[in-house]
Symmetry: D3
Subunit: 327 residues, 6 copies
């Protein structure tokens, strides 16, 4: 390969999967055509970052199959550093299917084929301390904590290394019920991860699960008192998002757009929020930009295609509300 | 064939057609691709019933052509009893085309090719008294009354047999202007059918046509006084639906969803309403469930694909209103 | 060819292009399939007219390539008089791409490949005084003023001839920033054209550019005082449209519909407005009909497919607001 | 409308239908998407003629529905004279479905919905003697003889008028078994038509049906002796075609190309043959050109899209056999 | 459910999977759209049988997910007895992807996601001796032997029961390298199955693997001498197929058709061969019919759509070679 | 960006364009959908090289539009070094349309929109002597010589630098008639380029144009005697290819496959040939591999998708001829 790996500003760790998104709405039984997309929570965050000019590398494993090559080339094409991606000749690349607008309008359902995937074999060996140590932010999510024991260890190793070197740790709770054997496991493991997190993204349901509270003030208080976290973004769906940021509480409204597939909104938020903070935006601006990006990505199938470049993000923020009515 | 026909709980009688739904909106002149679906009012009701675990058989005729085979296999695949479907080697399976969102947004237009179809040759011979007599409900609609004299006779025979054996008769007025030679015929024939009906589904325009009134109380009163009907569902479009049920009046709101093709909503309503009543739901619950199903099916092309199974119906009812905004 | 050219009621002059409209939303990078449509501002107006029974001819040039033939056959098929279209063997037919709903929801972005197109070689030679002189209305737009010096001269020649013969001149400002070298040029040239215009269509941004004012009364006053124009339609987007018509001011609301691609709305408005005036509607009725047509065309990709015939237009006006809710 | 009807060189009479061609191969039961095309044997011939610069008008009837408008605009767009097409408000435009490559590879199967179509109401009233009399060639086919008694009378009237005025009559036997009540009728009627024909197109099966012989020499002899026809084209499928032309016998090979849908090949042959003869080609050249056109149209779905313009026809004839191998 | 299970003539046992077939050719990396089909070797055989009027039931397990429901409804729709299909709430329905024409033209590649599938949990408990015992033929394949230990035990139990009751056992070797841990295992297990087989289907590579010989006579001799099998069909690809049938050797040529996806050809062969034998055809006729069916199914994506009904099979056999050349 | 540019083994110079390939065959007038691909002769060669593990960088210019970004990300994703690609804010990315199988079956026609493209502004400034000097091979084509004077100067500068530093120069004549003002220009310029070439790729027509001979021996002799070139590959279409290589003459047959779009075959040949030579294959092996790659790419739309990786190339070479017949 041409090119020598330098140190990206952000290092993320987690599974990237191929998404097969239903071309038509309704139960998958009746869907005939599926559209292929590169996705995965941490991969989505990486692409969000590089689109805004913040370098990012992803630590993951892919199968040595066509779907693994697809993801690898996609991420490389986007400018994500792929130097720490390993190929596994024994295990397949994880995939999943997306059912849209059924049974609940505006909500997507997923059907995973990721058990035993290449990324489920992620292990602490995959985490190069120098690579993580050279970054400004290390990011992972609760999904990585759930897919296997070894992946979890890898994620925790990354968090520990980052903490140890004074690098900002970013953690998106991303509780996925289907990936956990039981709720208690999820609570224990995710709580452990919170213990290493500087910046946390979560929603009300996740707060309720992990902290037993969901009111905004309670959530912020619990995270602060129990985990010492004072940089939190609480996502409230169509009500917008709130942040507790080093003592301040900020609220930002959501942008209302026609939803084609809401999957990926949280990753767009996290990625654009981190990119904006790293590029010097204040928290409120970062939240507005993150909200805009979340709105942009839910308007299409696929998680990463609509992640904005700087110019597009500005045009959205300037133009929103001045367009022809969408009804 | 493997399997011996038992007695389904519901027997319906009417034409099942192949629908060719425009893939793109606008006048059909400019539509290049069409999508094939199995439909037909009574067939839709059958599928709604079997999806919710209520056995149903359809009495109809199909052409011995590929479209007839398509419908036959579709219904059999859904679990509808096809033992009383006959194939006609001389007449084609009826079909129609759907133009969507033009000229009126949110409204579909149809172009029929069903004159002289196999189902138009439905005749009283097709109605096996034992088959109808073994059911708990017999269902037909005003469409069957309109497509031919013999089909009308068959439907009336079914209603009479059912009445005679104390089986519930269910009638959906389903006035289709394009199928009637003139309005007077329609009024006469549909009124005759009302004379046999225990449960009636109609909307305000149909009430006005048949009863000369459209105000809710007037409609209920006229049906009661003139036809002795005391189980009526009056569909009010986006205003929801109202029922007069053995002395009680119940109102249920409609669920608001993005409409792709409103065709089939009434059938979904009727089928899920009947299934719910047969499974012991009270009228209000049956109406809520029926409204939900109607909302679900208008979100896609095709009438039957989105008819809910029990689990999906519950998820819709639980999740509706908590989803991301659809605007 | 079979047929002898008679005199159409309206003669329009300007470029007709092939539009490649993105099948999926989002940045064009990620769009794989594009759909071909015949468009162009003045061509759109022509089709709007002939659909409503008003004869119209288009003066333009096309490349002798497949895209030129496509447009020629399309316009001929619609019934537009193509007797004054010339083919240029040296220059290609102009084309452009449409990016939808990105970055701003509800707004489309265009990417032109029209520099040096066949129509950019339009010249005064293309304007046959007898042809223009035989019409009741001559129509052109600010786009034709922008694409080349020779096209501009042709448009000005058409306006002058029409003025000289007492034929109504209709001018849609249609300011397209991407087509002008600089704003001053645009202001000078468009102002010159206004000097020849009897009927003017413009929006608030265009008013501000050309007149330095955007408040409704100011716009009407300036056009009247500076250019002597007393038939003006000011388009206000979702707020509707206002007209100053020989001393009267009329306001009409916009029809709200789901927007797939807003391109072409202004042309639909202008064409249906002119057709309605020519067929004897009063200004308010013409505005309502024009607004309806604008709403109809934005519901699909392509500019001309949804332009209404008389019957469809009436059905829209009667049915609007009585349909199932579109949310 | 703009334009005054002049006299086209060729007048054809017959039904134009909308074809819904299966997007995927196999039995129609399993085909989900269908593609719309304008077709019809005599309409195909018209388009073949006008593409090569020979003016042609079609006498037919269309429904006043979207499909009728589609065909009308398509033919007008192609440059066919549509001045003698009438719209029938009562009857639908005829349509049919095409099943490709099943059960026999390389052969298409059709499913008609044309009984009672607008064109089946074609009658002698539709045949304007002045219109037919102004042409150089009158063309019709055995399909028109089959669809209804009135259509047959119209076709015979056209043939008689033409004969009477010394205009060349061209007749393509086009025996379609599905359209005839029985074979004897077909033989009687088609034989009657042969009595009026100057130029005849037929294939071996049709020869056998009508003449009881299929060997080339026998066919030519029988047509000559029994009907006095001495301009005959006998189509031999992949073996090519043979002509008996005023005493000479000419043979031309077929061009071998990958077949997507063979429907329309015969019409392409007839139309291009007639055009070539009218433009001064000798019979062998006309046959080669006709064979080329037949090969071109079978390579795509739809009958008319690939009908060649002069330049494309020449490029095919020059380039055939020098291309990359198609296997 | 309506209907009481009777005894099908054939009982098959094996996994049915959802196939996602690449819409465009080439490496899957570059394929954007995938088309869903119901497949699986033994399921394909079942559908081949029922299409020809031979009743068949499939013993299998499906996930309680949308893909499991899809297969269940598909098979039921085709008329396969689904009374012995069980749903597994813990395991997903197996799926796979098909890459076509790459890297080898005319050959498809598969990418499985079937490890741990519902059907891999098939066990001897699933095999009801009365069900198997009521049939005339029991059929399974080497795929079922490969997917798990419990599935293998189930298949062997089925074979043993059938042998014990004098029911014909049919075994298609179907060696799939990707499904076996190593070749020795495959040889041992498949040899064991051969010990129970009355009718065997295999190709030259499989013969070589299991018997160490591939010449036709050697294969027949080895199967006879080592396993006592005297009803064998040896598939030879484009060279056709040969049978050793109770002392006779018969050869039948393959039908040459354009290949879209060769997957499913072997199952079509086996199913139609068995159906034909059961319906009284002699071996050569059965082989010809089986070859025809194999040719029919490779012309489309999907394995079962093109399986012929009796009438279509006859038309293929009559029409083959008389069609327009496909080159 | 993450990564520091190293020296690629091959440096290529030329325009990369977006290709819009007709989804359906026939004249572009009648094509509705177009599929987007990244192409361009030298870019194709680069991707062919990197797929086989040979590093390659492309010197080019792209517009700062979505199509430029698309190409940039595509090439980066494939692993091509994009460090020497410049973006031009004033000029658009070049594009073209592909018409397939019409008018000549098996041949594609192109319609360019590349005049004034960003790459037409390529200039000697874009050619970094250190970058070229660090490579083992410098490659360009006659297309770059044709698109503009500055691009030609850039290509000549690259060739001169390479010659001066003893780097192998590779030149593909690639004569494109549509890009040259006249033939004499083409002959003069291309001859000049031949003066700098070590390795030359051309076909018989190009040989005839430049050398006045087309017989194999004559071509080799003329190139040797007039230009001192003794490494030549002469492409002979379906007859295969011949090389004169340092005194030896080698012939290799073409692989016959079904052709979907022959565009890109020559680039696949050149790229795989160069890669194979650089990786130590002898000339005959390199030719066989290059022929295989050319066959692979013509089986799909797009030029680069089917370029083989090492493993796929080997499978093709092993499997070719053993597959199911394609007829």
């Amino acid at each position: 390969m041409v090119g020598m790996v330098l140190m990206p500003e952000v290092v993320a760790l987690g599974e990237s999967l191929v998404q097969f998104n239903a071309v038509t709405d309704g139960p998958l039984r009746h869907v005939t055509y599926f559209e292929k997309h590169a996705t995965g929570s941490e991969a989505n965050v990486c692409v969000a970052l590089v689109r805004l000019g913040v370098s990012c590398g992803l630590i993951t494993r892919l199968g040595t199959d066509e779907f693994g090559l697809f993801i690898y080339d996609w991420l490389r094409g986007e400018g994500v550093d792929v130097g720490h991606i390993r190929f596994d000749p024994e295990r397949p690349t994880g995939i999943y299917f997306v059912q849209r607008n059924y049974p609940i309008p505006g909500v997507s359902d997923v059907l995973y084929y990721r058990r035993g995937s290449a990324a489920s074999a992620l292990s602490p060996d995959d985490v190069d301390p120098d690579y993580v140590g050279g970054a400004r932010v290390f990011h992972t999510t609760g999904i990585t904590m759930a897919i296997s024991d070894t992946a979890r260890s890898a994620a925790l190793k990354g968090l520990e290394i980052a903490r140890g070197k004074g690098i900002i740790t970013s953690f998106d709770v991303n509780y996925r019920k289907k990936l956990w054997a039981n709720i208690d496991d999820a609570i224990n493991v995710l709580s452990k991860a919170l213990g290493f997190a500087d910046v946390v993204f979560l929603d009300e349901d996740e707060a309720n699960l992990l902290l037993g509270v969901s009111a905004v003030d309670d959530v912020f208080r619990e995270l602060r008192s129990r985990f010492g976290i004072n940089r939190v973004v609480l996502k409230l769906g169509i009500k917008g998002s709130m942040a507790y940021w080093e003592g301040r509480v900020i609220k930002v409204n959501a942008f209302r757009v026609p939803v084609k597939d809401p999957i990926g909104a949280g990753d767009a938020y996290a990625g654009v929020f981190l990119a904006s903070i790293l590029r010097g935006h204040d928290v409120e601006s970062a939240m507005r930009r993150a909200s805009a990006a979340a709105a942009m990505v839910v308007m299409v199938r696929g998680d990463e295609e609509n992640l904005p470049r700087e110019d597009d993000l500005r045009r959205f923020l300037d133009g929103y509300g001045r367009q022809v009515d969408l009804r």
